[in-house]
């Protein structure tokens, strides 16, 4: 428990001191979301239909900026070596790193997307659907992104994107559908996203541990 607490505090401190980790995805998200109405259409009806998909695509792309390099710094500076030397649980390391990354990168984007709905004429009555699906979806994407990052350690970041994009497609489809359909049908999509998250947490975390270990073989 003391390792978990100590490691969590360390990760929070690192993220809070490295503002680029938080600001870069936010700036990217803001640029994308404000450029779409200017480039595509300024018709409220059209924008309102496109809004869930736009928000989801922008969040997915913005999130990709940081999640793929989640283990890179620890691998490059030798911190991962130390965890192996002391025999710390790599599963705990992976879970803490993904969760802290989600708090500092995905959570601000979710909060920001709430304010962006007015720009895109998104129906306010579906706002909770959007937020709910984003909470679940961004967590799943964080796990997929971490796996892509673990598999591509020490290699070109294009590999991480190539791994992550197909994995994220089901989440993107389910998430944007959950934000689009009426309140009666939302339960189905939220349940599917919850199930996906439920299976992703143990399976993808263990896959991350294995993928990191591969780089030490």
């Amino acid at each position: 428990m003391s390792f978990l607490k100590n490691f969590f505090s360390r990760e929070v401190l690192i993220y809070s001191k490295k503002s680029s980790n938080v600001i870069s995805p936010v700036i990217f998200f803001l640029i994308c979301i404000t450029f779409f109405p200017l480039a595509v259409s300024n018709d409220p009806n059209e924008l309102s239909k496109l809004a869930p998909g736009l928000i989801w695509i922008c969040i997915l792309l913005a999130g990709m900026l940081s999640i793929q390099t989640i283990f890179k710094e620890d691998y490059d500076d030798g911190s991962l070596d130390l965890f192996y030397v002391r025999g710390f649980s790599m599963l705990e390391v992976v879970l803490v790193k993904i969760f802290v990354n989600w708090i500092f990168t995905a959570l601000p984007l979710i909060l920001l997307s709430c304010s962006m709905v007015f720009l895109l004429y998104f129906p306010v009555d579906k706002l909770f659907n959007l937020i709910g699906s984003l909470f679940l979806g961004t967590l799943i994407i964080s796990f997929f992104g971490a796996l892509a990052g673990a598999l591509s350690l020490g290699k070109n970041s294009i590999l991480a994107s190539a791994i992550m994009l197909p994995l994220s497609l089901p989440v993107l489809i389910l998430g944007s559908s959950a934000s689009t359909y009426s309140n009666e049908n939302i339960t189905f999509f939220i349940l599917l996203l919850s199930a996906l998250l439920f299976f992703s947490v143990p399976i993808i975390s263990l896959a991350c541990v294995g993928a990191i270990r591969l780089h030490y073989e």
């Binding site: 690192i14 030798g78 070596d81 130390l82 192996y84 030397v85 002391r86 025999g87 073989e217």
Partner: protein, 199 residues
């Protein structure tokens, strides 16, 4: 304390070292030698449990279990420091400083000339200064086995003398040290030239 028998490690279809056997007894200082790429860093990583896919056996007294790991101090080629944290923040969260009083670490940092850099970001320090941060943990620690990969790299002559003196103190205190270096160390009780074990 540490017994290595028939240790081999293969990388890219060739053995970096093959059939390496030696014992590390208390108070011994072993220097690993060899040309660049001969496997000195790899051997250190194998001994401390980072690399697992080796052949042969490594046995530590009481086995290399979770308790045994706590008796090993590892100083890698990389310092494992976070650039955006200060010197003190790095030391607070570094597991090599576990159980060491902060005042002791500060004293060692002062001995190595870093007393004015406690609140400086690591990114603002030179490579030698970064090395000294971890060496302050090494100096304050009290472990049975020290595995040090190029401990004196990037250090000025005065700091090299201070660290060498600390190495001597630790050996006299009964600790065992295995270290890699291209420079001759007169304190070394045994040399292992990995070039002789390459295939």
């Amino acid at each position: 304390m540490l017994t290595i028998q028939g240790l081999s490690y293969a990388y890219s279809d060739r053995f970096l070292f093959k059939n390496l056997s030696f014992d590390l007894v208390p108070g011994e200082l072993i220097q690993l030698k060899g040309r660049n790429g001969s496997g000195k860093t790899t051997l250190i990583k194998v001994l401390c449990g980072i690399l697992k896919n080796y052949e042969g056996s490594i046995s530590l007294v009481n086995n290399l279990d979770s308790e045994g790991r706590n008796e090993i101090f590892y100083l890698g080629h990389k310092n494992a420091l976070k650039d955006n944290l200060t010197v003190l923040e790095n030391l607070k969260y570094d597991y090599r400083s576990d159980g060491i009083e902060l005042t002791r670490l500060k004293e060692n940092l002062a001995t190595l000339g870093l007393e004015n850099y406690l609140f400086s970001k690591v990114s603002d320090l030179s490579e030698g200064q970064k090395r000294k941060i971890i060496l302050s943990c090494f100096m304050a620690s009290n472990k049975s086995i020290y595995l040090l990969d190029e401990p004196l790299i990037n250090l000025d002559e005065e700091s090299k003398k201070i660290v060498s003196s600390e190495i001597e103190n630790k050996i006299n205190g009964g600790s065992s040290i295995i270290f890699t270096s291209h420079e001759k160390n007169i304190l070394a009780t045994k040399d292992i030239n990995l070039d002789e074990y390459a295939t």
